[in-house]
């Protein structure tokens, strides 16, 4: 299993450290550096997305008009 300590000291969201499933799918011994890099990339992406004001954003397109229409 990947331990939090394996991923280094840089702060990343807790959920990126929830990686037992990831450990099952990859070889943690050889890939821990890459896992750390991925955790950082995902955390950075989340931070960037948090900067977008979604208060007035429409729902994702696939859940909008084409799905609601038949229910009217």
């Amino acid at each position: 299993m990947i331990r939090n300590a394996d991923l280094g000291s840089e702060p990343v969201p807790d959920w990126t450290l929830n990686m037992p499933e990831m450990a099952r799918l990859v070889d943690p011994a050889s890939d821990v550096v890459e896992l750390r890099r991925y955790a950082r990339e995902i955390a950075a992406a989340q931070q960037e997305l948090n900067g977008i004001d979604l208060d007035d954003a429409a729902p994702p397109a696939s859940f909008s008009a084409e799905w609601r229409e038949p229910l009217r």
Binding site: W15, V26, Y38, L49, D53, A57, P60
Partner: protein, 482 residues
């Protein structure tokens, strides 16, 4: 192969087509030249996953007979092309560059886009190398014709390398995070990522459904336009001889140059070529507007999240239920899938919501600034050495995948069309590419502008395509200048 035949492989599609129609050469000769060129370059370039010699020659014979009997399917009639090995091509397996699909059976039907190219008379030579399941920017074992010690980029690396090597006149690629534009830039060819949804992706193995696009790569803007037009032609509508209105004056072109996101963290050699290219355009009379797109980084993040989660979903069943097959996936892809599975559903849905906001912000910029297109670098570096895949001199600690998608991925989130074309070469002679990002659905304007810029930059007059190293001299094209 004679040097005369080699030099003909450097002609444009229109020039080759003219020779077919005035019987200077036949479709069979042309296809044979391409097959010989593949034989000559493959030991070094490794751009092809499989070559269908018999099928290509048979298609060329049919194309020739049609021309002789007065049937002309249009500008791609008799033109040899390559198809990325994630597209179904009838009679050939779709292996997607993965050992996990070694046992794939031959496809029974062509992908919709392949069908359109064939209907336009194109001759399919075979399947080009892709990074495994189109996920990545390296495309092993393919190499870059400008320097075979370097990578061609990816994931459509085989397509770009084959075109740059003169082995075919165009090729199909796919672009989910930059996979057409990245290898196009690294290999000094032109590539179009069409507007999202403009071309059917049916029977093309998915990477990320909400972002996947398919499109053409070719040597020049006009060659790419001809492929694009064939791809947009409904087979039921009959042949077309498209023409692009080239009467575009510099004064009618207004481009936006968005700072800082796209112009920070570039290698100095790339920056100087791009700056020089912009100065050339200004001297030609093109209006260049310095601007900002504050949402650029968020747009990249949005595409990144959607891409990773959907890729994990595409491969979910194999990852969870078929461990033997999953073990045959390469380690990079296994890691990508594992990371994608760890991303929360809420973050994925926020990214999907953000996409609409980002698309609207881009539309507002085009309207407010009255620009025709954005001009940005395609890559922050030139082609990397295959044995030394490290990003240097950009000021950032990035993986190759992150660095090489940093400037392309934002436009996968907005869904707008983007043309990547070469604008010059660095001090090592390696190509540098720029992206022209346009209004959704207006690919034609991008081609018009792209052709004007191509002439201004004179990239092709510098000798494309050509292997530089003397040790590859026997397979160098003497000239490729259209």
């Amino acid at each position: 192969m004679t040097s005369e035949a080699r030099s003909r492989l450097g002609l444009s599609i229109r020039e080759i087509g003219a020779g077919l129609r005035d019987r200077s050469w036949s479709a069979m000769e042309l296809t044979r030249w391409s097959l010989e060129r593949i034989d000559a370059t493959e030991p070094v370039i490794h751009a092809w996953a499989m070559v269908d010699t018999e099928g290509a020659m048979a298609a060329a014979e049919i194309a020739q007979k049609e021309l002789e009997s007065g049937i002309d399917r249009g500008t791609l009639h008799g033109i040899p092309l390559g198809i990325k090995d994630i597209f179904d091509v009838a009679g050939m397996p779709t292996r997607c560059g993965s050992r996990a699909r070694d046992d794939a059976l031959p496809a029974s039907l062509d992908a919709a886009t392949v069908h359109r190219l064939r209907h336009g008379g194109a001759v399919v030579l075979g399947k080009t190398v892709t990074q495994e399941f189109a996920a990545g920017t390296i495309s092993p074992p393919a190499r870059n014709p400008w320097d075979p010690e370097r990578i061609p980029g990816g994931s459509s690396g085989g397509s770009a390398a084959a075109v740059a090597a003169g082995a075919c006149f165009g090729a199909m690629g796919s672009d989910t995070g930059g996979s057409i534009r990245i290898p196009a830039a690294a290999c000094g060819v032109t590539g179009l990522k069409p507007s999202f949804g403009a071309l059917e992706t049916s029977s093309v193995f998915p990477l990320s459904w909400s972002l996947d696009t398919v499109g053409p790569l070719a040597r020049t803007v006009d060659d790419t336009w001809l492929m694009w037009t064939a791809l947009r032609t409904d087979p039921a509508a009959g042949a077309t001889q498209p023409s692009l209105n080239k009467d575009v004056g510099a004064a009618t072109i207004r481009i936006g140059v968005p700072h800082p996101f796209f112009f920070e963290s570039l290698q100095p050699n790339v920056r100087s070529v791009i700056e020089e290219s912009l100065e050339t355009l200004k001297a030609e009379g093109v209006s260049v507007v310095d601007m900002g797109w504050p949402e650029a980084a968020a747009s990249r993040a949005c595409a990144f999240i959607i891409n990773r989660v959907e890729t994990a979903a595409v491969h979910e069943r194999v990852a969870v239920e078929d461990s033997e097959r999953f073990a045959r996936y390469g380690p990079d892809l296994r890691l990508r899938i594992a990371a994608g599975r760890a991303i929360p559903g809420t973050l994925y849905l926020q990214a999907m919501r953000a996409r609409g906001v980002l698309r609207d912000s881009m539309a507002l910029l085009f309207a407010d600034l009255k620009i025709d297109a954005l001009l940005v670098p395609s890559l922050p570096t030139t082609a990397l050495e295959a044995e030394n895949l490290v990003i240097t001199n950009t000021g950032l600690d990035e993986s190759v995948g992150a660095a090489w998608t940093r400037l392309t991925m934002p436009f996968n989130a907005t869904g707008q069309p983007v043309l990547s074309l070469p604008c010059g070469r660095d001090s090592l002679g390696l190509p540098v590419g720029v992206q022209l990002a346009g209004r959704p659905g207006d690919e034609q304007r991008l081609f018009q502008i792209g052709e004007f810029f191509e002439k201004a930059w004179s990239f092709h007059r510098m000798g494309l395509p050509l292997f530089h190293a003397p040790e590859y001299g026997d397979i160098a094209l003497a000239t490729g200048a259209p």
